[in-house]
């Protein structure tokens, strides 16, 4: 499969960037607007998935990408836990200790630890979904050989 027609490819490229930016926006505004880590992460993953769907699976080296996404997945989960543990040292609560400065409600830089959790969850969800997509694609490729 060499991918779809030129029109689809170009549109997908344009769209992909916009979806990516929108995903970033949803993630970073998780504490002030509806949405957050999970929904933003899904958008991030789908921006990559759109590209692969349009360009065909030879566009990138799938296996190499999957290893990279696995690393991001573990790394973000690890960072979430470490942030939770840092709360244990800063006070006595695990994961729920919001010890960073709270700021003004409604501002982008506010709500203490929550935006950081939001961003890490965004990375985690994006990496996980993309890993699942790649794993299924690679599996199909290996079966059809």
């Amino acid at each position: 499969m060499k991918g779809m027609s030129v029109i689809v490819k170009k549109t997908a490229q344009l769209l992909s960037a916009m979806i990516f930016v929108f995903g970033m926006y949803i993630i970073t505004h998780g504490h002030v607007l509806p949405g957050g880590g999970f929904s933003g992460g899904v958008l991030l993953a789908s921006s990559f998935i759109v590209l692969i769907l349009a360009q065909g699976k030879e566009y990138i080296k799938l296996k190499k990408q999957r290893e990279a996404t696995s690393v991001f997945e573990s790394l973000s989960a690890l960072l979430i836990l470490l942030l939770g543990i840092s709360g244990l040292f800063a006070g006595s609560l695990f994961l729920f200790n919001n010890y960073l400065p709270k700021g003004q409600p409604g501002e982008l830089l506010s709500a203490g630890n929550i935006p950081i959790y939001s961003i890490l969850i965004g990375i985690k969800v994006a990496a996980t979904l993309f890993t699942i997509f790649l794993a299924l694609t690679i599996y199909k490729e290996e079966v059809s050989k």
Partner: protein
Amino acid sequence: MDDRTLILFIVLPFLAAFSIPLINLVSEKAKTFVVAIVSLVLMVLSVQLVVRSPESTLYIPGGWYPVENIPIGIHLLSDGLSRFMLLIVNTLAFFCAVFAIDYMKQYTGQKYFYTLFCLQLAGLNGVVLAGDMFNLFVFMEVAAKSSYALVAFGVKRTEIEASFKYQVMGGLASLFMLFGITMLYWMTSTLNMADISLVLRTSEIDHGNTIRFAQLFLLAGISIKAAMIPFHAWLPDAHSSAPSPISAMLSGVVIKALGIYVILRLFINVFEPDVFISQVFAVLGGISMSAGVILALGAWDLKRLLAYHSISQMGYVLLGVGIAMGVMASGGSPESVALTLTGALFHMINHAVFKGLLFLSAGSVEYATGTVNLKRMGGLARALPLTMAASFVASMAIAGIPPFNGFFSKFAIIIAAVQGGYYFRATLGIVVGVLTLASFLKFQRYAFFGRPDPGISIKEAPLLMKFSMVSLALLCLAMSLFIFPDIRAIFLDPAVRTLLESTDYAIKNLHP
């Protein structure tokens, strides 16, 4: 009392799980030791928890205080029973992890194995520590999901089929559990187990049969997780097709933490013990005990034979629990209940040790010969002297031969049955014990004695595998010491007391 060490039992395995793929990038060898180190730390911590003080401790990660006297948020609770289970889980996990270091070299994709092992450990610790129904459910799922993946780890046809069967049955069980939990929440408007217990015992509203309905849903869910006989279909496949260290974990710990522990916690601490439920347990226990051992007698696949024995031995524990609940509900003497519960819990910890050891020695035999079919083995006594000695100890322990640990716990359960006036159940216990001995003599005879098969090349087990087996064999002997009251007072009595003083559960654990 605020006890921060409790969170370590959940966080450390999770940390290890997510750092293993990263450690794997740096060093392939280092990652194999991570699980062993983490579980060693947790084992030491759990021993320290058990020895330190018998008082129950609570840790609330969110730090939220009760709203209108209803406790909210996550509660981690360690009382006698939880600590006892933590000890079993982490000890066996340590020996399995050490065994896995050498054993898993024959597989590819090892980093996934270690990650899943850690997740399973985290789930099991979470189940045991959870103080509210919802977290109990969530951690049950964490443990169950990683077990599904671990059962299919070999990705052969039979293994994937076993994993699929396990997933379908496990999913059904979770659904039943969730439905039961929902109904309880609807009736009591709280999820905290101590609070549910308080509400159910003091409320003036008559729930009538609704509570029985919820109980039956929970019962169905847990019965599948604990693999009692009419619900056991997934167990022989799943336990026999997982890699051996995982079989040991599944048989030794998972069916106890997800099954028997939840039964004890819910049906003795949360609900008031009643005669009907106690009879259900005693009957299920009796059937599992006898049918499990009969199925085991006909099995020629070594690991399948051991899996059937897990059903049978869990039947003993369940029989003990059923008798204890029956005596409790009919207002019998606390001494008699205490004896039965001590027997049941003692048999549970014994089973973890000797069944763990049996699966590890089966793994060692499989490693040496490449087969688990008893008919194709033979004469391994000369080639694998250590494995033979270890599995002999475990076989005698499971068959209930003194001076090994299994004898004392079975004896306690049978004596308790006689004291309670259940002569048929006591006789059944003895008969099943004899049949167990028969089937393990078959295992010893076909695997280690007789004429060696010339077509099979044998390699001796590596050092770390031997270390695990020998330590567990020594534990089998050492645990006989639990019959001395001083040692029992440290390890078993706090757990029995938690169950015995079940009315205090709510009062102690809401505001400790």
